[in-house]
Symmetry: C2
Subunit: 316 residues, 2 copies
């Protein structure tokens, strides 16, 4: 099978194979990606995040359905940070999403870390590129939203949806400025629940503060705050209207292409870093490592020696 | 002030300054660490983790009190993963821990990522070494337990306490094999709550499976499962009895020193990796970066070129 050609024509088996190769660092993955890269840069990547219990997967399901209604092919990248405490929840999400698995216009992939630091971000980006090449018009990148890593990834999307929910309590609800800053569309799900009005006011205040602080040269977009009841399909069309509006504005202003370029640049640097680390680990001086393990030298001194022995890299 | 000498005599201002220097990558930090390193390797490092809502900080407080009762000086490293969703909880924890701030036998430091990947682990280790040099007998490393990063860090402790709690629901309660494997002492806090028996059985089953799977050459320790009600100070002495027993067994067998050695080795490699990355980023070829940003080449090809231009590092 000519994997590159097949995936460009939308063959899901070819797409899945390319993604697996990339995950496994099989050389064929990079080769396929190179062939299909000219056909990428078209899909709108939409990040979706929020605290556990916000009903993200139900909302994601409803948004997929709405996008399909508008005639779009939809890719989904579900990020599994392999958090020991959220395993059950994620498995549940994947099962709930299964209702779209028979629809050839929807392609869902889970991405895990497999223990690599930074691997989550790289895999997510690779998967988005493959789905983009396969012709999906919209790609949802969905996380459980528990760590900085996931937030960073979602922030790399063209459009980011932040989901809140009434009455989850301060422990999971507290949303720091960092997250408010990356959101383009804010949704309060389960808006029929008690505590909605308080949560809405809290979000509005934060959005107001953000507007006040916005630099004059920032992209001109005031994030809407939208109520939804995903289980009853309420508010979903309004959310997709908002992401459509945001997407159009990005494209019209040229910001869409600039964002995509920044993503590729970041990915290239991350891949370079991985490779440099691999080389450095492989060549780490065994003597120095033994000495630090025996506590004869301290880790800072050991690191200095290790870098020095990888000369001439350090000589500037 | 001679920071190294002062911190060895237990001066908390000197300790705080050394930790700040290390966090800021100020050269003086590494210098101080080198001077005091021969005085480290004595403290028992105890990792404490569990899902949000398990009452970790109340339990940590009670364990600090119990360690003080036994005449030990106690250091605490509280890991703040700067998760956008747990900000409130962590702030609360720190405030609750304030009751020990007037006790000169207790020294509490928070560690954050400041956006560096891997920085959490490095900072935690640095802070532990400084507290160790300051003469604290026991160092608790406490995390909110929401991500793989934090689990990895806690797993580096000599002794790891995993805290569960009845009735949190599957979403936060599901504990994967990975976490079960790193625990040395298991505690079910809030044991007076409904659902305790079910949670206890669940933990016991998992511990039983772990015992079955234990390799013959593994360290000979069967993790106890202990009930506690931290708010009423119930079960706390039993937990510290268990961590004491674990610590003694580690020391008697020589495993304590081996674990410490492995920690230093891992830290040296992490510091080397950081420095190699810094060098690579600094020297990344601007032409290649522009080309990938303009989507003229794909990120894999760009990374290959970037590594190549950092030659001769790649020439093997």
């Amino acid at each position: 099978m000519d994997v590159a050609r097949e995936l460009l024509s939308g063959n899901v088996l070819a797409g899945a194979r390319a993604i697996r190769w990339l995950d496994d660092r099989d050389r064929r993955g990079a080769q396929v990606l190179s062939s299909v890269f000219p056909h990428t840069g078209r899909a709108q990547i939409i990040g979706v995040t929020g605290p556990p219990g916000a009903g993200k997967s139900t909302l994601a399901n409803a948004m997929i359905t709405e996008q399909r209604r508008r005639g779009r092919r939809v890719g989904v990248v579900a990020i599994d940070p392999t958090s020991p405490f959220s395993g059950g929840a994620i498995l549940g999400d994947r099962v709930r999403m299964a209702r779209h698995t028979l629809d050839p216009g929807v392609f869902i992939r889970s991405v895990g870390t497999r223990g690599h630091a930074g691997g989550l971000s790289r895999s997510t980006h690779d998967t988005c590129l493959i789905l983009d090449a396969m012709g999906y018009d919209v790609i949802f990148v969905e996380t459980v939203g528990v760590g900085q890593d996931e937030i960073d990834i979602v922030a790399l999307a063209h459009t980011t949806i932040i989901i809140g929910v009434p009455g989850l309590g301060d422990e999971v609800q507290a949303i720091k400025a960092g997250l408010m800053e990356v959101g383009d569309v804010f949704v309060i799900n389960k808006a029929d629940r008690e505590g909605y009005e308080a949560t809405r006011q809290q979000f509005e205040l934060m959005l107001h503060l953000r507007e006040e602080a916005r630099p004059a040269d920032a992209f001109d977009w005031s994030p809407p705050l939208l109520p939804a009841v995903a289980t009853r399909d309420e508010g979903i069309a309004g959310i997709i209207d908002a992401t459509d509006r945001h997407g159009s504005k990005l494209r019209d202003s040229g910001e869409f292409a600039r964002m995509s370029g920044r993503r590729e640049r970041a990915q290239a640097l991350a891949l370079m870093g991985e490779e440099m680390l691999r080389i450095a680990m492989e060549r780490a001086d065994a003597e120095v490592l033994s000495a630090v393990e025996a506590r004869q030298i301290d880790p800072y001194e050991a690191a200095r020696l290790l870098v020095h022995r990888l000369s001439p890299v350090q000589e500037e």
